[in-house]
Assembly symmetry: C2
DNA sequence: CCTACCGATCGGTAGG
DNA sequence: CCTACCGATCGGTAGG
């Protein structure tokens, strides 16, 4: 309670690291890069974190925790299944395309990461995707549409937006509306 | 004509490098890795290639050349606009999901690559995507659907398949059919 | 938080 | 195609 206003030094470093990882990827971001951005030498970061791997996993999981909560809230505010889905897409893209903040667009490039780290990320992401599984199960899809593939395609589509999205032309909400329109069937 | 049957040593090295890049990414593949797979030391590769960057660009562009030609053939065999699109998707996934061969699924992770290389890859890929632009322009889409975004979503969807596809459950053609079903509107 | 360093690995080269 | 090496960079650590 005493120092609620001022973020801790560790927190500052986590946010700086999250932005660098999001922008340059896991392997493209060195501990020295993070150090420079934080105004210290790379080695000094190890007073606050255990390893680069542990730092990345912590950021990834914290980001998914936050995203899960915000998406669940957005979904609850809707009652129609298609409206729920579009709300979830819009919130996910809002989070993923936000230029700042520690909530991230770095759930991609799993191949850049050491195998032990990858296993942790995959497990956490699988849980996250259950949220969309529930939403897809609610949809009145035509019977010949395989819901498992449909869900994979939707998640892959949402994840891929950060690869081609450029701010200015479209808002994240507009992109979400277009995706929802493409995936609306039956 | 004389030695048509036996692939040149250079060609062998290119195919080995293509598979490694496809599996582990640009930064995840060292010249020493390629050397080991080819049965030589890393430094020895420089008799056949100029640099890692040039090697990657050459592989990338050759793969897109081949893909472009095969997709164009598949499209010509169809007359209906939707059939053309589905044929193009099926051929692209066939190429991208083939477990071997130098035609590759490495058109992703542009962020892993040095800026000068990235510029070349992007330019070549933009040309490649014109092929799909023509196909989308033929479709009788509902008027409120923005064709530029629709095309981006389709290409992003196709590109992302290699991230979640696991051989066995579905053939590339079946995945293409599902994608075509999702994107069929109007 | 810095100094000063470690062992490993990288792309690439000279010279044969 | 190998030997032998280069300068750079990496994650991480000891000791203060």
């Amino acid at each position: 309670m005493a120092d609620a206003g001022r973020p801790s030094r560790r927190r500052e470093i986590l946010e700086i690291a999250a932005q660098l990882f999001a922008r340059k990827g896991y392997r493209g971001t060195s501990m020295r890069d993070i150090g420079v951005a934080a105004g210290v030498l790379g080695g000094s970061l190890y007073h606050h974190i255990k390893s680069k791997d542990a730092l990345f996993v912590e950021l990834h999981n914290a980001a998914l925790d936050a995203a899960e909560e915000r998406i669940a809230q957005a979904v609850e505010a809707q009652s129609d299944p298609w409206a729920k889905l579009e709300a979830a897409c819009a919130m996910l893209l809002d989070i993923q395309l936000a230029p700042d903040s520690l909530t991230m667009p770095m759930m991609n490039d799993f191949r850049e990461v050491p195998p032990a780290v990858r296993a942790e990320l995959v497990a956490r992401r699988d849980r996250f995707e259950q949220l969309f599984r529930a939403l897809v199960d609610l949809l009145p899809l035509p019977p010949q549409m395989d819901r498992s593939i449909y869900r994979n395609l939707l998640l892959s589509q949402l994840n891929g937006v950060s690869d081609w999205y450029r701010p200015g032309r479209l808002t994240p909400a507009q992109v979400a509306a277009q995706i929802a329109a493409v995936f609306r069937h039956g």
